[in-house]
Amino acid sequence: MEFSTSTWVILTILVTAIISIAFKVLNDRSKKNTFIILGLSDSGKTSLFIKLRYGEQVQTHTSMKENEGYIKLEDDGDPLTKVPIHFVDVPGHEKLRFRFSDFIPITRGIIFIIDSSTCVKNVRSIAEYLYDIFSNKDVIKHHIPTLIACNKSDMITALPPERIQTILENELNQLRNTRTSALDHQDTSITDNVEFLGYENEIFKFEHLENEIRIEKCSVDKNEFKGIKTWVAEVYEGR
């Protein structure tokens, strides 16, 4: 009797384990329904995430770990999508951002947040991050649409999105030159040919990229991020 009880328990555990693994695989790997929030440290990723999720504002610090969750997008109470959407907020610290590539296989869209007020100062870091994203082979392969959200647009020093776009394009153009002439990697057995972004012999423009890029201004602090929500809804529904 006792034996049979434990056998039962073992069976239950095994079955649940198998089901859950299968579920996980099905749920996570086959669907690309996740939106990832990227950007430099201090650009407002976690704030946006919290705002989207709870509609509230909390104090945040530099993230060490991803925040993630299912979020029902609403616009003034009207749901924008039928089902909650999975969002991941990836830390922007230089040493942690490599994690973003782990999420790319399940990514539907990328929200890249820029601090409009410090954009000029950080343009190189921003461009380098963007370059890494755009040259990621999965991003290229799946044409993952990207929204560049220029946050903190309410600040006095904030630049308009058009201006940010030109600055970024110039910088990416430079980067494209330096990156393609960088030294080889030490381990040549892994040959991931870095794709050339945009068209050769032409100054880099976002529209040259195969994936759709949109630039949107927003201010998470002032609750002006409707553009992000509608973009997410569009991308999500337009499957």
Binding site: A17, N27, D42, Y54, K65, K95, D184
Partner: protein, 1050 residues
């Protein structure tokens, strides 16, 4: 006084925070960036601006607790506060934290105040009372709480060895103190689940304290932790409402909550957490069932808990896994300190976490370590040099890169090893100091660049008897310069092996220049009917033909420079064929002309070469002439040649030769001035300071070779030497001293060795074969292929070089066999020299800064940049020439590339040269200036000062440290000391630090890539490039993934 306390998630969301004063700039972000993300969480505290921060993790909830206080304060209770708050908070708000469906208000202010006041008060009362039991309310509620929290977090409190241990006991007491006090009516879990935690704390701690203390006196020193637990259990049994494990209970709650709320609880996390949670469900259900069942069953569950994960990781669980990991890392050449730090940090991040499904602790640790390593190695700043350069271009200024580095670890000798100095004197290795000049193998000086000492495995090199060398001891790094002397040979192996044809075997030695090793190889040529070679002769011929075609053949005269360590790993055949050798004659540029000066004083005129030779010969003859202390030479009457020669030499020197013919057998010869009777010869001997004790005058030892040393040696041999023809047709002189004047024999030996001959060690006795008595003779043998150059007088003692002398002129006489013997641990003294680093028998290697500079330069040139190289290594002679060669090569390689060398010779101020170079570059529109600095040891203060000056004067855009990938623990020391020096000696407010590293010799280290980790961890700066070979293109970007993989590979 505490300034600031905050509780945040690892995702960066602040759950609760309290500041006691105005915080100007939040130090928390800095803490996360500088410490936690950098995997330095193994440290204890962090100081930022005026704050000192301490922190603790609650990994089961992904929480960080941070306390900040003024750094001038010494607050001993912070750790206790953190631990207590953590336990209390996690306990109280467990569901809140887990439930991410909404933002909760964490009403924690009052509780925190109570805890804080309590602990602070306790601290104020001093340690004595501190250790006494605290107020202890015997209510059920209290026991439950303690019990609950104990279950939850006994294992959570991190106790890294460096942190003062806070006992569970103490924390329990702390919590109990507040628990019991203010919130009697708080329904504990039920209340908090409702989302409205009570905060009706009515009693102030001051009111309550005294009374409680009184009640407690009775318990003093009686309540141990165990007793408390016993009590707790008894309390538990009484309490029917509460399951024993709060932890599981809360999980059930949470799941219910989740389902209740939106039906999405199962997908909270990506990846493993899903399955974790569903298993938790099972487990919880089962657990509730099993509560009624017997104990056996529950042990069954814990077994399953173990395999299926879900188990909370405790410090104890981690210890063996981390120890193993640490050992593994050290094996991969990670510095020991850093491995320890990393493991501490990983442990802090893991304790309290749940293992994933079907995961062993080991693999969890490995996974966590992988993430940590990746984090550390990922650069936090841009490593795109080209982009930086184009930035500088747009500002129309040259981009400056400064290459700094250490020079190689000296190859070292045991105390007492003697070295020949450039001036002809000898010094023991321990007496050598920086700047000393020792004699190189090409008669030029080698300047000592640095010295080191230490302890290590020592080896004794024992040359065979016939050799001129004496045994010496050195460390295992010492590079032997050997002549390899083995020709390929053919062996006809006609030994009939069953089933095999007879064969010819060809053996040869091949030099593997990658491994710097000589390997013996063999090929077989079978012959016989039906085989490739029908006959033995054909096989032999094929073998001989093949032999000629072998590449990298190591044959006679091949010079092999090999560290003893590696030498010992070579095969016996190879070792047997290795010989040590000595260079030919040594010419002392410094010591020359002394004899000439002495002679000119005596003669009153500038002596001619023949006069000098004559005088030298006479001195030699005198030295060799028995014990005579008067300035006369006794010559046997029948030695006509010598007598004639003396007369002739006397004439040359305008001395009158006076023969004393009183004894027929022996003639006494002395010299006087031809105009007078003053003995000029006496005067000469006196000037040479050898009249009182016969010896080879030291001044002559280092004097001109042809005019002084050779005639001197000839004089000595003419009188006291014997020529022997050996069986193989070669000759040797035997010089012996009849009386026990071993010192003269010793000096003659040195003289011969320095003059291009090979003189064996002095034997202290000679066996008379006839009488079998050991006679007290000292003698040495002198051999060499230039013995005929000695201007001897006596014809029978002359080595002829005519037709039939069958004089073997190969270098066999100048080489000898030797043995290497391990003599165990010992002290060694090392030094490093310049130029080709060969000084007679020894050789040292350098870490070549300039080589890597040239590789970088090549890459920049390929990108169409105009490069100026500033030769600021004004210290190591040869450095500028080395760069000049590089520049010439680089210019030849690139078609349109422009690279120039900016040099101002040696000995000048490097900082000034660099400054001039930058200005020159600016004026001439160079894009990049590469500054080559001298390699220096990190302990050499004057040189480090000079480096700091160079850096602060020129403020280069990048300071790149060139280090060897082979270094282990040394890496940390080098980098910290370089950084420290840059900081200490700069005199600047914001001193510069190393901006990046280049790791050289990366191709030689296989997967022992630990240095890469040690270096990035120490500096926090990226490795820009790795050098993977000797050519200009062997510079690569480092791939983080590759390093991490190599580090974790078994």
């Amino acid at each position: 006084m505490l300034d600031f306390f905050t509780i945040l998630t690892k995702g960066g969301i602040v759950l609760w925070s309290k500041s006691f004063t105005r915080i100007t700039s939040s130090p928390v972000d800095a803490l996360i960036r500088d410490v936690l993300i950098e995997e330095r969480a193994g440290d204890n505290s962090y100081i930022k601006d005026s704050y000192s921060l301490k922190w603790t993790f609650a990994n089961e909830f992904d929480l960080i607790f941070v306390a900040a206080y003024q750094k001038i304060l010494q607050l001993a209770y912070i750790e206790e506060l953190l631990a207590t708050v953590k336990k209390f908070f996690c306990d109280k708000f467990a569901e809140f934290i887990r439930d991410t469906s909404q933002i909760h208000k964490y009403a924690f202010d009052d509780d925190f105040n109570t805890i804080f006041n309590n602990i602070e008060e306790k601290d104020a009362k001093g340690y004595d009372k501190f250790s006494k039991p605290r107020p202890f309310e015997q209510t059920k509620k209290f026991k439950e709480t303690v019990e609950g929290s104990k279950k939850l977090s006994v294992n959570d409190i991190t106790k890294p060895p460096t942190i003062p241990i806070i006992s569970d006991d103490k924390i329990a007491r702390n919590i109990e103190a507040i628990r019991g006090k203010p919130t009697r009516g708080r329904g504990g879990r039920n209340k908090s689940r409702s989302g409205k935690p009570s905060n009706e704390s009515s009693f102030s701690s001051d009111d309550k304290k005294p009374t409680r203390k009184k009640t407690l006196r009775t318990w003093e020193d009686k309540i141990s932790k165990d007793e408390m637990e016993n009590l707790d259990y008894s309390g538990d049994k009484d309490d029917r409402d509460r399951p024993s494990a709060v932890n599981t209970h809360s999980l059930v709650d949470q799941n219910q909550l989740g389902q209740f709320q939106d039906g999405h609880y199962e997908v909270k996390d990506l990846g493993q957490n899903d399955s974790d949670k569903s298993e938790e469900d099972d487990y919880d259900e089962a657990n509730e069932d099993s509560n009624q069942n017997d104990v056996n069953q529950s042990s069954m569950f814990s077994f399953f808990k173990n395999i299926t994960g879900q188990k909370e990781i405790t410090q104890q669980d981690l210890v063996p896994a981390l120890a193993k990991m640490k050992e593994h890392l050290i094996k991969k050449n990670v510095a020991a300190d850093i491995a320890t730090h990393l493991c501490d940090s990983v442990s802090r991040n893991l304790v309290g976490q749940k293992t994933g499904s079907f995961k062993s602790i080991q693999s969890t640790v490995k996974q966590s370590m992988e993430v940590s390593l990746k984090r550390i190695l990922t650069p936090k700043t841009s490593v795109d040099l080209l982009r930086d350069i184009s930035q500088a271009q747009s500002e129309s200024r040259p981009y400056t890169i400064c290459f700094i580095g250490v020079n190689g670890v000296g190859k070292c000798f045991a105390r007492g090893t003697k070295f020949l100095m450039y001036d002809g004197t000898y010094k023991n290795v321990e007496e050598l100091t920086i700047g000393n000049k020792i004699m190189g193998d090409d008669n030029s000086p080698r300047t000592i660049q640095s010295t080191t000492r230490g302890e290590g495995s020592m080896y004794r090199i024992i040359p065979n008897d016939k050799s001129p060398a004496e045994p010496f001891e050195c460390n295992d790094q010492h590079i032997l310069v050997l002549k390899f002397a083995a020709y390929p040979f053919i062996q006809s192996g006609e030994i009939p092996v069953t089933g095999l044809y007879p064969r010819i075997r060809l053996f040869w030695y091949e030099y593997d220049d990658v491994k710097n090793m000589i390997v013996k190889k063999t090929d077989s040529y079978y012959y016989g009917p039906g085989k490739l070679y029908p006959k033995k002769e054909a096989a032999k011929k094929a073998a001989i033909q093949d032999m000629a075609r072998k590449p990298n053949l190591a044959i006679s005269d091949f010079i092999w420079e090999v560290p003893i360590k590696d030498f010992l790993t070579a095969s016996y055949d190879v070792r047997r064929n290795c010989l040590m050798f000595k260079p030919g004659k040594v010419i002392f540029k410094l010591g020359q002309g002394k004899f000439r000066n002495i002679l000119s004083d005596i003669l009153g005129i500038n002596p001619t070469d023949s006069q000098i030779s004559a005088a030298a010969w006479l001195v030699g003859a005198w030295i060799s002439n028995g014990l005579e202390t008067s300035p006369t030479i006794c010559v046997n009457g029948d030695e006509i040649e010598i007598l004639n020669a003396m007369e002739k030499y006397g004439e040359t020197l305008s001395w009158k030769c006076i023969k004393d013919n009183s004894n027929k057998e022996e003639q006494r010869i002395s010299f006087i001035h031809d105009r007078g009777d003053r003995s000029e010869f006496l005067h000469l001997l006196r000037m040479l300071d050898i009249l009182d004790g016969k010896k080879v005058p030291p001044v002559i030892m280092t004097d001109e070779l042809d005019q002084v040393r050779l005639p001197l040696l000839s004089g000595i041999l003419d009188i006291g030497g014997h020529l022997l023809e050996k069986q193989d047709g070669s000759y040797e002189y035997i010089y012996q001293s009849p009386q026990k004047q071993c010192n003269i024999v010793e000096q003659v030996r040195n003289l011969a060795n320095l003059s291009g001959f090979c003189s064996s060690n002095v034997k202290k006795s000679m066996k008379e074969y006839s009488t079998n008595i050991t006679a007290p003779y000292c003698y040495t043998t002198i051999t060499g292929n230039e013995l005929d150059k000695l201007p001897l007088i006596v014809s029978r003692k002359k080595v002829c070089k005519h037709h039939d002398c069958s004089f073997k002129l190969d270098n066999r006489d100048m080489v000898w066999k030797f043995k290497v013997m391990n003599v165990g641990l010992g002290q060694y003294y090392g030094f490093k020299v310049d130029k080709n680093e060969r000084f007679l028998l020894s050789d040292l290697t350098v870490a070549h800064n300039s080589t890597n500079l040239s590789k970088t330069c090549f890459w920049l040139l390929q990108n169409g940049l105009k490069v100026l190289i500033a030769a600021c290594d004004t210290f190591r002679s040869g450095a500028v020439e080395q760069l000049r060669v590089h520049v010439r090569n680089l210019n030849a390689l690139g078609q349109n590339s422009t690279v120039e060398l900016y040099e101002r010779g040696y000995g000048k101020d490097a900082a000034g040269i660099a400054k001039d170079a930058v200005n020159y570059a600016k004026a001439n529109k160079f894009d990049v200036v590469l500054i080559d600095t001298a390699g220096r040891m990190q302990d050499n203060e004057p040189l480090m000062r000079a480096l700091a000056k160079l850096v602060s004067v020129n403020n280069p855009d990048k300071i790149i440290f060139v280090g060897e990938a082979l270094v282990g623990n040394e890496a940390v020391d080098q980098l910290t000391k370089f950084n420290q020096a840059l900081k200490d000696f700069s005199g600047l407010q914001n001193p510069r630090q190393i901006d990046g590293m280049i790791l050289t010799k990366f191709d030689t280290i296989d997967d022992k890539v630990g240095a890469a980790l040690s270096m990035t961890y120490t500096t926090g700066q990226p490795i820009l490039f790795v050098g993977t070979g000797q050519t200009y293109t062997d510079l690569k970007n480092m791939r983080v993934g590759h390093i991490v993989h190599a580090l974790l590979r078994e």
